[in-house]
C-alpha cells in the first residue's frame, strides 16, 4: 500500500512549472478572479440613494465611510450558501475513487458550484478551496496556485458553465439540464487536464506530445465519473429544496 504522503491528488505540485508559467498563470488567474469578485459584488449589493443615506442613522453603521452600496437581503443567504457548498466541495475533493487499474480521481466540483451558486460565485468558491488546500494541506503547490486556479476554477468552472449554458439552449427542459450537466462536467475535467498538460509542456518538464495524450486519456475517465456524481449531487440538492442560484444571479 502507498503512503499517503506520496499521494499528490489532481493539483499541480511545486516544481513542475517554471517561474515564467507560474507568474503568467497567476496574473491571468488574478485578473479573472477580480472580474468575478466585481460581478458577485454587483449582484449582492445595491445602490443606496443619497436621501436614504442622510436619514439612515443606525442603519448607516453597516455602510462604510463614503460608500453608496449596501448588501441586499439576498446577499447574506447567498454567502452562507457559498460557504456550505465550498466546505462540501472541499470534503468531496478528499474522497479519491478508483477510475482505472492503478489510477484514482476525485471530484473537481466546478460544475456543481457553478450550477448551485452561479458561475462567478462558483469560481470564487473553487478558488477559496484551492487556496486553503495549498496553504494548509500542501495539496497543490503554492507557486502553482495560479495555474491550479486557472485550470480548475476558471477553465473548470467559469468556462465550463458556458458549455452547460450552450447545451441548455439547444436541448430545452429537463433533458437539457441533465445533458448539460453531464457534458459540461466531462469537459470541465478534460479541459482542465488539457490546460494542465499545456502548462507542464510550456515549462519544459515533459514534451506536449507525450503529456497531452496521457493526461487526456486518464482524465476523460475521471470526467465521466465527475458527470455522474455532479448530477446525483444536484438532484439531491433539488430534492432537499436547495435553491439553485445559478438561475437567479449572473446567468450570462
Amino acid at each position: 500500500m502507498l503512503k499517503i504522503s506520496e499521494d499528490l491528488k489532481m493539483h499541480i505540485p511545486n516544481g513542475l512549472l517554471d517561474p515564467k508559467v507560474s507568474a503568467g498563470t497567476a496574473f491571468a488567474a488574478a485578473a479573472v478572479l477580480g472580474y468575478c469578485f466585481a460581478r458577485v459584488r454587483q449582484a449582492l449589493t445595491h445602490l443606496v440613494p443619497e436621501s436614504v443615506l442622510a436619514g439612515a442613522g443606525q442603519m448607516a453603521a453597516n455602510i462604510s465611510e463614503g460608500s453608496k452600496r449596501m448588501m441586499s437581503t439576498f446577499a447574506e443567504n447567498h454567502i452562507m450558501k457559498m460557504g456550505a457548498v465550498a466546505s462540501l466541495i472541499f470534503a468531496a475533493q478528499m474522497l479519491n475513487f478508483p477510475v482505472a487499474a492503478g489510477t484514482s480521481g476525485h471530484l473537481l466540483g466546478g460544475i456543481l458550484a457553478a450550477i448551485a451558486l452561479g458561475p462567478f460565485s462558483g469560481t470564487i468558491v473553487i478558488s477559496v478551496v484551492l487556496l486553503v488546500q495549498s496553504i494548509f494541506f500542501a495539496d497543490g503547490g503554492i507557486t502553482a496556485l495560479g495555474a491550479n486556479i486557472l485550470n480548475m476554477a476558471i477553465i473548470g468552472t467559469l468556462f465550463s458553465y458556458y458549455i452547460y449554458y450552450m447545451v441548455n439552449n439547444i436541448f430545452k427542459g429537463r433533458s437539457g439540464f441533465t445533458m448539460g450537466i453531464l457534458i459540461a462536467s466531462f469537459f470541465s475535467v478534460l479541459l482542465a487536464a488539457i490546460a494542465c498538460s499545456f502548462e507542464i509542456a510550456l515549462s519544459g518538464t515533459s514534451p506536449l506530445s507525450i503529456v497531452l495524450p496521457a493526461m487526456a486519456a486518464v482524465h476523460s475517465r475521471i470526467g465521466i465519473a465527475e458527470g455522474l456524481i455532479t448530477i446525483i449531487a444536484i438532484e439531491i440538492l433539488k430534492a432537499r429544496k436547495f435553491e439553485l442560484d445559478g438561475k437567479v444571479i449572473n446567468e450570462t
Binding site: 502507498l2 499517503i4 504522503s5 499521494d7 499528490l8 491528488k9 489532481m10 505540485p13 511545486n14 513542475l16 477580480g34 466585481a38 460581478r39 459584488r41 454587483q42 449582492l44 445595491h46 445602490l47 453597516n62 455602510i63 462604510s64 465611510e65 460608500s67 453608496k68 452600496r69 448588501m71 446577499a75 454567502i79 452562507m80 450558501k81 460557504g83 465550498a86 466546505s87 462540501l88 472541499f90 470534503a91 468531496a92 478528499m94 474522497l95 479519491n96 492503478g102 489510477t103 484514482s104 480521481g105 477559496v128 488546500q133 495549498s134 496553504i135 494548509f136 494541506f137 500542501a138 495539496d139 503547490g141 503554492i142 487536464a193 507542464i200 515533459s206 496521457a214 486518464v218 432537499r240
Partner: protein, 115 residues
Amino acid sequence: MKHKKYLPLVLTAITVAIISGFFSSLLPDGLERVSRSLYFTNKAKESPAVFTDYNFSGPLNPELSSIITGIFGILFIYFIFHALIHYQHILAASKKLFRIEKWIFRKELKEEEKT
C-alpha cells in the same frame, strides 16, 4: 449560530470527510499517474504546509489524522464565508477601492443611478 439553514450541507461535508478517511483510494490520481509513467514525478517538490497531505506528525494513525485535518479544513472554509457576513462593509466597501468596477459596469451603473 444564527444561520442554521445550511448546516445540513456542512454536516454532509463532515460525513464525506469521515468516509474519505477510511475509504479514500490510495492509488495515484490522474496527474500523479501520468507523471510517474512519464518519469517526471521526481521533479515535484513538497511545499511546506501545516498538514502536509491531510496528515500531522503525531501519535495518531493516518486515517484519524486525515479525518481531523479534513474537518478542520471544512470548518475553516465555512468560517471564511461566515466572516464575510460579519464584515459586510468589506464587500460593500467604498467605491474608491473598486475603480475597475466602474469601468466594467459603466452602463449598468448609469441605469441604476437613474432609477
